[in-house]
């Protein structure tokens, strides 16, 4: 195997649920896989603070269980994909609305749970009682 093939096999094992490459210490690769997931979960917590806070101390556990085997796409996208599969409510729901409305071409709006998020000229405003 070339170096390129071996590096690709190792990355697949570490972030995409690929098989363990020959000759490596399985326990150490497992620890590395876990460390990468924990780092990723911290980065998503920074990009999506309300989403992470809605899980409290369980965030790391819940996010890493979901992200296991899914290659990282960056904290913003990872958090968004997680939120789409785990629709949040409360402040985390508003955070998701602001993100989605902000990405659309202005003027755009979204109304959910008695909160209205409006994108006017690229700036998102939120109306209603934000939890």
């Amino acid at each position: 195997m070339t170096l390129a093939e071996r590096q690709a096999e190792l990355v697949r094992c570490l972030v995409a649920g690929g098989p363990m490459p020959d000759g490596f210490d399985a326990e150490r690769l497992g620890a590395t896989r876990k460390a990468l997931l924990r780092k990723r979960s911290g980065e998503v917590r920074q990009a999506w603070p309300a989403l992470a806070a809605s899980y409290g101390e369980r965030w790391d556990e819940v996010f890493t269980a979901w992200a296991e085997g899914k290659p990282p796409l960056g904290s913003l996208i990872d958090g968004h994909d997680f939120a789409l599969e785990h629709p949040p409510s409360g402040a985390a729901g508003v955070e998701l609305m602001v993100y989605e409305v902000g990405r659309r071409k202005a003027p755009a709006f979204q109304y959910r749970h008695r909160v209205l998020a409006v994108n006017i000229a690229g700036r998102v405003r939120v109306f209603g009682r934000v939890p």
């Binding site: 170096l3 690709a8 990355v11 000759g23 210490d25 150490r28 590395t32 780092k39 990723r40």
Partner: protein, 266 residues
């Protein structure tokens, strides 16, 4: 111009704290985090005060088997121009392969094949850079099964063939020694310290029987104790999250200065 004294990793979350350090020798900024249109004003202010700024790349993947991306190299060169940097730094590692991003620095097999691949990428990068480059060996929780060289030999071969400088991270030295069941001080033998540009230091902690180089925990005493053996001209503290209070960071910087034999700067 060479780096001197105590430095701190500049991060947006602690920008004001870093700017307020009276004896600050230099800062490092994550090269990929710099907006291409210009420096954030707190960094521009440091540059105007003649505090050296070192762009620190984390995504070039110099140890990747594939040629380094010309676009990424151009951005690192732009970052050097923008900051007026005396040098830039990157890692002896790879971060992507086969179209997948690992999201972190991964270790290379310490083989001749990896030496040649890394040397080719460092040369491609150096050709485009306006300033010298320092290369940092990383901390890893595992080794490849077919290592032919020790870490010191592997790094020496790469630095000598590319005439690059050394960025030695004493926390990485500590982490790798502990995780390989070696005495940290003894693993300092054989490193090309004559090429040393500066030293990194960072915190970490034991978890699951392994030392994790987290950058989000305090710097352990045993890591500080490696500084006198290295006698660095310049040391930079990296902190990447779970930021403590300003007072705690100051105490940590003072402890680093004392261990490195610098005057207290805070």
């Amino acid at each position: 111009m060479s780096l001197q004294g105590l430095g701190m990793g500049w991060r947006p979350e602690i920008a004001g704290f870093v700017a307020g350090l009276p004896g600050l020798g230099f800062v490092e900024v994550i090269a990929e985090s710099l907006p291409p249109q210009g420096l954030p004003w707190t960094l521009a202010d440091l540059r105007d005060r003649d505090v050296a700024i070192v762009p620190h790349g984390v995504r070039l993947s110099l140890g990747g088997a594939e040629p380094v991306s010309a676009k990424r190299v151009a951005r690192l060169a732009d970052a050097a121009e923008l900051t007026g940097a005396p040098l830039v730094s990157e890692h002896i590692a790879f971060v992507r392969a086969g179209g997948l991003e690992a999201g972190h620095l991964l270790p290379l097999p310490r083989s001749w094949e990896a030496v040649h691949a890394t040397v080719a990428n460092v040369r491609r990068t150096k050709d485009e850079l306006p300033v010298p480059i320092a290369l940092e060996p990383i901390a890893a929780l595992f080794d490849w099964p077919d290592d032919e060289l020790t870490e010191a030999q592997f790094v020496t071969e790469i630095l000598e063939r590319t005439d690059a400088l050394l960025l030695l991270d004493v926390a990485n030295i500590y982490a790798n020694a502990i995780n390989r069941n070696l005495d940290p001080v003894s693993t300092l033998d054989g490193w090309p310290l004559e090429r040393l540009a500066y030293v990194h230091i960072a915190g970490g902690r034991m978890s699951g029987g392994l030392y994790h180089d987290t950058h989000t925990d305090p710097v352990p005493r045993a890591v500080l104790d490696l500084l006198p053996a290295v006698k660095p001209p310049a040391v930079l503290l990296e902190r990447d999250g779970d930021y403590p209070t300003g007072a705690e960071l100051l105490a940590e910087l003072d402890a680093i200065a004392a261990a490195a034999g610098f005057e207290e700067v805070t």
